[in-house]
Symmetry: D3
Subunit: 234 residues, 6 copies
């Protein structure tokens, strides 16, 4: 796993804000809670969490991508959805009332693993958002039920690799995104055969490899919150 750096309260206006760095990948995650619910919750008292993943036009080593393209690209939408699902899995939505938490994940620099950094940064951002809303009396308790973290694992040139860089990702035979809780439960798993086909045994090995990193990230975040640190690295 590459070097990790977490900066809390990066943006002074956003209620929850975290710059999450994994290697040279940097994702700025800002969280806010707005009034209103998606249509399918109308009539209930339950809230919702949604995320918007966006890569800045010159964030990656590849050619400049246009903002309009980023905004409507299937890739951005697919990643936005996995972030939202991951967060909702460990938040008691009934505690939010008829409100929607929106997390904006802006990739400032992209060197692989942007979706996992976005999930990790979003988790930190909503944790801080909820703490602040509790202290302001707008929530009765922090609705997060468990800690989660995310990591990418894959097979590159026949070798299992964790936290792939952009270069490794481009050569990956298999690419997997894992989101797990502190209790080793699965939240999201996306396995994709890119260049080679493997069986279920490999999948299990990749999950266990990923779990080792996920444990470390969760431990780091807990330490950061317990000691109330603004910046922490691993």
């Amino acid at each position: 796993m590459r070097k990790i750096k977490i900066v809390r309260n990066y943006n002074k206006f956003a209620l929850g804000s975290c710059l999450f760095c994994m290697g040279d990948t940097q994702v700025l995650c800002n969280a806010t809670m707005q009034q209103g619910q998606p249509p399918h919750l109308k009539g209930t008292n339950s809230g919702w969490i949604t995320a918007e993943y966006f890569m800045l036009p010159q964030a990656s080593s590849q050619q400049r991508s246009s903002r309009q393209q980023q905004l409507t690209s299937g890739r951005s939408k697919e990643i936005s959805r996995i972030i939202g699902r991951s967060l909702r899995a460990v938040v008691n939505l009934d505690l939010l009332g008829p409100n929607t938490v929106v997390v904006d994940c802006d990739v400032l620099q992209a060197d692989g693993g942007t979706r996992t950094a976005a999930i990790n940064g979003s988790f930190v951002a909503i944790y801080d958002l909820f703490q602040r809303l509790v202290s302001e009396g707008k929530l009765t308790q922090n609705p997060i039920t468990k800690f989660i973290a995310s990591i990418s694992v894959g097979v590159v040139n026949g070798k299992k690799v964790v936290d792939l860089s952009q270069k490794e990702d481009n050569n990956a035979e298999v690419d997997t995104t894992i989101v797990m809780t502190e209790n080793k439960e699965l939240v999201e798993l996306q396995f994709t055969a890119e260049k080679k086909l493997y069986d279920i045994k490999l999948l299990n090995e990749l999950i266990l490899l990923g779990w080792k990193s996920i444990k470390k990230i969760i431990r780091l975040e807990k330490k950061m919150f317990n000691l109330d640190k603004s910046v922490i690295t691993l």
Copy 2:
């Protein structure tokens, strides 16, 4: 698994065309090969496969959805991408030349499992498309390397279920889409905890459960192609 019905050559104009029905879910998959490559292949002689998933406005039991919404929804884009990746994993893209295969997956009736029906129908449609292109001398051989099939598995009220209907899907604790080859290799796997969190052991059980259905679907398709049947049911 619900009843399966496969209709080949459903549309007489599309070169590859398949209506794939699983229970009350019906997806019409039309495939064509067009000149041109995506930007990242420019300069190579390799082709590409892409899919477009679209749900007709009144296809499902829920409220009418607008076409514009369908076209830009994250859900449609996420599903389109998994279809494309699944097909590309078992097609030798170098044999296509600088061309792009486009598969349109139109959901005529939606009762759960539309993405797995779309993957299965798309596979049949490109198989027939390639056969026709071979017979017309436009391809030297069918570039498909292996058969694949897809199935959804999940946990509903604590019980493992295969090929979930819309009603089961709405109550699922865990929802998983599996795409595997005839050799039991994993192509795509998307696991999502919806209401409850489970561990890796459950994931393995779900994959094995899904594999049983995948085997049956692949066997059915092989029989259909071997006997050159227009319609086949299971």
Copy 3:
């Protein structure tokens, strides 16, 4: 006139649903009634009927068309409007209350005459929709005042032709769409000189030619409803 096949209740979720086939042209028409009125009816108790015509990307013998193009194309919008006007002409909108009937017309296979098949299929779909709404107590009576049907007529190589196929349409000197009631009243008439110019006498001959087919279609539909048949052919 080419062979006609009408399938009622094609989609099990849509309240009104009809697959209307004329020759190799197949249009799926689904109808629903939603709350709400267009702006110009606000303040009244009158309802509205609107239609959306859409051709599936690979429906026709010509090149694949993109969905975005279909959605915004002038041709689609022009046809949607003629369908809506035709239906409104024979429905007592005051009986609908402040609601809007939406008919989605998806062309599954296009071999000429898609707009006339869409009008015919839409009529069957709203007839069944209204019957169901009456039986559910949501409407006091079926608001349809008269039966209508539509047919295309034209001149191809100097000869008058009814129900033009795609190939005939491409060579037509004159192309006309006729919508008439069971009482031989005109609902909509669109005459277009494509390659040659003719006078009013020809127009009258074309209308009389079309009327013969319209009569047959209306008779077929009445028989279908009276005998409560699911499928009927001519």
Copy 4:
């Protein structure tokens, strides 16, 4: 028929430009010829004519309409198409070479009959455009084969009316747009039953009524071109 006023060369930059007024309706029609063909003509040496109808936001007595709405409205697209078809019917497209004539029809003031004024103004604009291109040596001859004109006819409170104002249009039982050549040939005919249903006899009466006005408009235009007048009224 209401008062007609035709202003040629209204815009000094457009090669063909005409302000066509019918009663209080004013439509500015500018025509230009651009390089390029629509896809279906690629490979031929034939040209094309297309039109874009657009109503300025505060042109009509009704509420301000937004430009975005105007640009994508079905009504605008339907009218744009009838203008284009009408012009193409009397232009020898082979003489244009691989070029496209674009006519922009901007409704400055809308008091009914905007589509017929747009057709009439467009005809004058392309006539002058072609004359200028001939004089500049860019065309060998004016490709217009016949004069056309357009008029609206309808039934209001049981009485047949020609050139309906907005107020008459709102109360019309039947609304018909007629485009005919100087030889009494039909180019386009759009008949719509709005509030009442009539038979074929009425249609013939309406056509003959319209023909009287069409004759007058064509005579006026011929006089204007022959005397090379800038402004002419009727």
Copy 5:
């Protein structure tokens, strides 16, 4: 300064309407007052004024521009904003109540100075709009506090020029738009170095040069309103 021509009440449906001509530049400005406020005024009783600048596709001597492009172009939006700001600076918005004045500025012919003609024409249009609303009892008094006018000044081939034509504008070294009140106060000033860099002294000279024309335009408008003239020229 080029010849000026002002036509009041150009469009008979718009409550405020002015065709403002400067040289060969013609801008049609229509004004209306609608219910509703922008979000940032919600909860207050204050109104707003906004403008929409739009150039007709063939208005200028350059190539035809598409409407979609015009609608979203940065240039159109920048000009729309300066018009809105200029008008708001001399209108007591509190007198409008929770309403929004919208001014549509359609450039019929563009020969330089379209933005200044649009500001001048918009001022005349809202003046008449407010007068009419006062006479209809919908406003208690005309909320305009001062007269404004706008002119462009610049440096062309080393010489200071006022009211630049398109040709002069294309060769300008410096381009400045000035909006001032009848009391010589600055409302908006936009100075742009296009080809050469000058110091503050030049800026002051340009402002004084512009002020001379602004005075004349304001005097002309006052005369027009005092004498209640429909058309006035300078």
Copy 6:
């Protein structure tokens, strides 16, 4: 003037990259040079510079703004244009060849003065971009002809203020953006009366006030480049 902090090479993939902070305002400016020219330069060997200003959804103290809104907002487009014009005024475009420099200005945190910070950061970013292109042999010399800097000045509660914060901006009577060269030449000047009207004398005082800060910023940048510092503060 508030505290300034400049971070060079903020993004490791962008060829020119600068994080420019003024007070709590932070703008990340990334610059790249792409092949291609805007239409009006086709046929010449001259290049172009364009900028895209974008505010991250939760960057400011106000409500979250949607990305789609930001992308199409008039404010974003107006600011993008002033950045582009300012840079082009001091770059010899002929030295760029048929290429376009694109500067993306992403506002990470917005506390007033985002447009001036964007201009300043963009200047640093293109300076470094050009240096790098020179060292790679892709440009023969740095095409920048002069240093520029930008500052906002205004009147708040009757007092002249420089480098306005968001709070000051909201209360400003007059708001002015100034861009000047190291030689005290004017590049861009945008003066807007927001709540009160002043005369030319005030404008001159504001310009001189702004010039003091501009001098300091340019001096700081020159020091940074001369000493080749990565980070510098004032």
